[in-house]
Every structure is written in C-alpha cells, then in structure tokens.
C-alpha cells in the first residue's frame, strides 16, 4: 500500500486491501509479536463526534503496536468549543503526533485535513461520507466467512446517509461480488455512490424488499434505519419493521449466511439472532483491532 492517507475506500485497490488484510491476519494470529513495532510513536485521536468502537479499537491497535495515543478529548472540552477551525486543530495536533485519526460530522473533513498536515490522516468517519477503516474490517470479516470473490452481498438499511455502506460498496467493486442494496425508496444510495458503482461496472441490484434477495445472499450487512431521517413518524414506522432481522426472517436464508452490522444496533437485529450461527457482528467489531493494527503499521 503506497498511500500517505486513508481518506476513502475508493482509493484502495484490490492489492491494497489484500495487503492490509493479510497483515491483519498475522497480527490476529499473534498480537503480542507486534508489541514493539512502533514503540515511541504517537497516534493523535481527533474525534469531533461520539465514538465507542472506532476510537477504542484505534487506541487498542496503537498500544498493541507499542505506540501511544494523544486524544483531543470531547468537543465540549476542547478548543473547538471556543470556535477553533478544523484546519487549526489538525495543524496543532500534527505537532504532537505521528499520524492523525479524524472523525468529523462534515463530509470531506478528512480530505481537507490531509491538505493541512504532513503526517498521515485516517478518515474515521466524515458525516454521511466515508468510513474506510470500518470497511477494511468488514472486508476482513467477509473474507474469513465467505471469501471475497463469487459471492452475493446484501446491504440493507439506511443506504443514503450510511457512511459504512458507501465505503463498503466502493471497496467491493474490487472483487467479484454481486451487490444487492435493500432500502426504502427514501433511503436509497446517494447519486454520487451510484455514479461510482456504475463507472466501475459493478454488479448492482436495488430492492425494497429483503425477501426478494435473501435466499441468494452469502452476507447480509445491516445498518440502522435512522428514525431522525424521516420527516414523518408514520412513514418511519411503516418501513422500520420490514427491515428488522429476526430468526423467523432468516429461515429463508442460506445456512452459512453471515449477518453483519457496523454497530451500534437499535432494533434492526433482534437479540435472538445473537445466539444463532448467522450472527457475525460482534466478531466483526473485534476484528477492528488487528485490521487497524495492520493499517497503522503501514501508515506510521
């Protein structure tokens, strides 16, 4: 992988993805073997939005590599509260850290930040834009369970605002994957992502009903349908139930289907699914550490 930053999944080639995933697999097998690899180095965490998994897994990954972290802390306790610009914040933190991990509510924030600093920037989520490190751990999980070629992946939920969806869709175009997007009409993929998928020649189908495609899927990637996106509560209630995964719904699925979710979930996957062989989402979250170790190892 020869990038200075990780800003979107679009920049990743198949070779890049495989490089990261192969190294992640090494770290996964023996995490302790890497503990001095980046001793003395510092990772700067700049999270302008709340985060549990992403932030903790980057912190854990850095520490497992022997590096340490400096954390900007919450927006409320930082100079952002005083009106400091993102451009100024990242230039300050650049002076402390060897790489920056940035989460920000505005799309394109990581790209802009990368233009202001000389250290690597990792986009850890920019509004409804992209979340490429999440995609790498998603791909790692998919590879473990189904391989990355000649598979059908269903991606369901809020496709319009779901940054994990946008990044995953882009990255899957590197592989022989049939992508099925399942959502209510109002939450279909945004025009920019559809444009890219079309340009890449990806095999893409769109559906409103999961029933249409479920029996063919090897992977079902579920995201939360965000109540706050609907102007009308009744409209939300009408679609929300249709996009909820229960053991009954999964009766028509392949036995080896993997149900994934970037988490946090609310009610789109019933707790009863957790105890089935379909549930892959907690393993997926755990994979964040070896994958982010691999990513940091390549960028630091």
């Amino acid at each position: 992988m020869r990038h200075d930053h990780l800003l979107t999944a679009k920049q990743l080639s198949r070779e890049d993805v495989e490089t990261v995933l192969d190294r992640a697999a090494e770290f996964d097998r023996d995490p302790s073997a890497a503990r001095e690899r980046h001793a003395g180095e510092l990772l700067g965490l700049c999270f302008f939005e709340p985060s549990t998994r992403t932030k903790m897994s980057f912190e854990t990954a850095a520490k497992r590599l022997g590096a340490d972290v400096v954390d900007m802390g919450s927006v409320e306790s930082s100079s952002v509260k005083k009106g400091e610009s993102l451009a100024d914040t990242v230039r300050v933190v650049e002076g402390y850290a060897d790489a920056l991990v940035l989460r920000h509510p505005k799309q394109g924030a990581a790209k802009m930040a990368s233009e202001y600093v000389d250290v690597p920037v990792v986009n850890a989520g920019d509004g409804a834009g992209h979340h490429p490190s999440q995609t790498l751990l998603d791909l790692y999980t998919i590879r473990e369970h189904a391989g990355l070629d000649d598979i059908s992946v269903g991606i369901m939920g809020d496709l319009k605002y779901g940054r994990t969806v946008h990044s995953l869709a882009h990255a899957l175009t590197n592989f022989d994957v049939r992508q099925h997007f399942v959502s209510p009409e109002s939450l279909r993929l945004p025009r920019s992502v559809r444009y890219d998928l079309h340009e890449s020649g990806a095999q893409v189908r769109e559906h409103e009903d999961l029933e249409d495609v479920l029996p063919n899927l090897d992977v079902l990637y579920v995201t939360r349908i965000q109540r706050e996106r609907f102007p009308d509560e009744d409209e939300y209630e009408a679609v929300a139930g249709e996009y909820s995964i229960t053991p009954d719904v999964l009766e028509r699925a392949k036995d080896d289907l993997s149900v994934m979710h970037p988490l946090p979930r609310v009610d789109e996957i019933a707790p009863e699914v957790d105890d089935t062989d379909y549930a892959t989402y907690f393993e997926q979250a755990h994979n964040g550490v070896p994958v982010r170790m691999a990513l940091l190892d390549l960028l630091l």
Binding site: S85, G108, K111, G127, S192
Partner: protein, 152 residues
C-alpha cells in the same frame, strides 16, 4: 455587419463573448467577477436571434482580455461560446471555450454538510465530468442549474 451585431456597440479593445446560452449573460459576468467596480465598460445583448442557437446572449467587455483559466470556467455555463479578442477594432484572436478538468473557488457546494460550507479556510474544488461537476471534498454531483451555485 449584420443587424444582430449592431445591437451591441463595437468595442475598441477587449473581449467579445458571443454565442452565450440565452439568459446566461449576467451569470457570465458573475463568473468572471465583473460587477462594475473594476471600471470596465460592459455591453450586453440578451436573447439576440442566432442562426446557430436560435437565441443567444452576447457580452462585450472593453479593455479586458480573458485569460485561459477564465475561458475554462466560462465553458461550464456557456459551452457554445466563442471568444473574440479585439484590438483597435480588429478581431486578432478567435477561440472556443474548452472545459477544464477542474474548477476551483468559483462555485459553492450544494451539499450543506460538505466541509467547504463549514466556515473552514478551504476553497471549493470541482472535477468536471462529462455531464456535470463533482465536489472533490464531499463527492456530491451537480448536474443541473450550475449557475445557482456560483460563489458570491
């Protein structure tokens, strides 16, 4: 000289932008940053009959020759425009506009959640597609009514 050409007075030296899409003349001036404060003499012809376009606008700017980058940006809203550089009443150069690969700082991004709309010190940048423009930051695609997104 045709009646059409006489509708707008001849200029001594400067630029005549002909075959501008009808109704876009004022946007052309906005795009070129001409608001009268620079002292240029500007003549406009709007909805002038045209054999090629049916109707067209014509913009004549006295005392100013457009740069290559200005011509590129002009191509976004007036792709059929022809540019005549005039010196001492003679047309010394005649050009067509060519779309650039990218435009910077000219348009605002329609996506309110784009970082370029967040008060940060960053100029907008759009890649020029075959059928629109794409924000280099948030990735949004602008296809229609590009002039509505001209920066102030």
């Amino acid at each position: 000289m045709t009646d059409t050409e006489l509708r707008v007075s001849k200029i001594q030296s400067g630029t005549v932008i002909d075959h501008v899409t009808a109704g876009e003349a004022l946007h052309v001036l906005t795009l070129l940053g001409i608001d009268g404060s620079g002292g240029e003499t500007v003549s406009l012809g709007m909805n002038v009959p045209s054999e090629r376009l049916g109707k067209k606008d014509v913009v004549k700017v006295e005392g100013r020759e457009l740069s290559e980058s200005e011509l590129e940006v002009l191509s976004l809203i007036a792709p059929e425009a022809t540019i005549n550089i005039v010196r001492e009443y003679d047309v010394v150069d005649k050009r067509r506009v060519e779309p650039p690969e990218e435009v910077s700082g000219v348009l605002t991004c329609p996506n309110r959640d784009c970082i370029t709309n967040a008060g940060e010190p960053v100029a907008t940048r759009f890649a020029v597609l075959d059928d629109g423009l794409r924000c280099e930051y948030c990735g949004d695609i602008v296809r229609d009514d590009i002039t509505a997104h001209l920066a102030d």
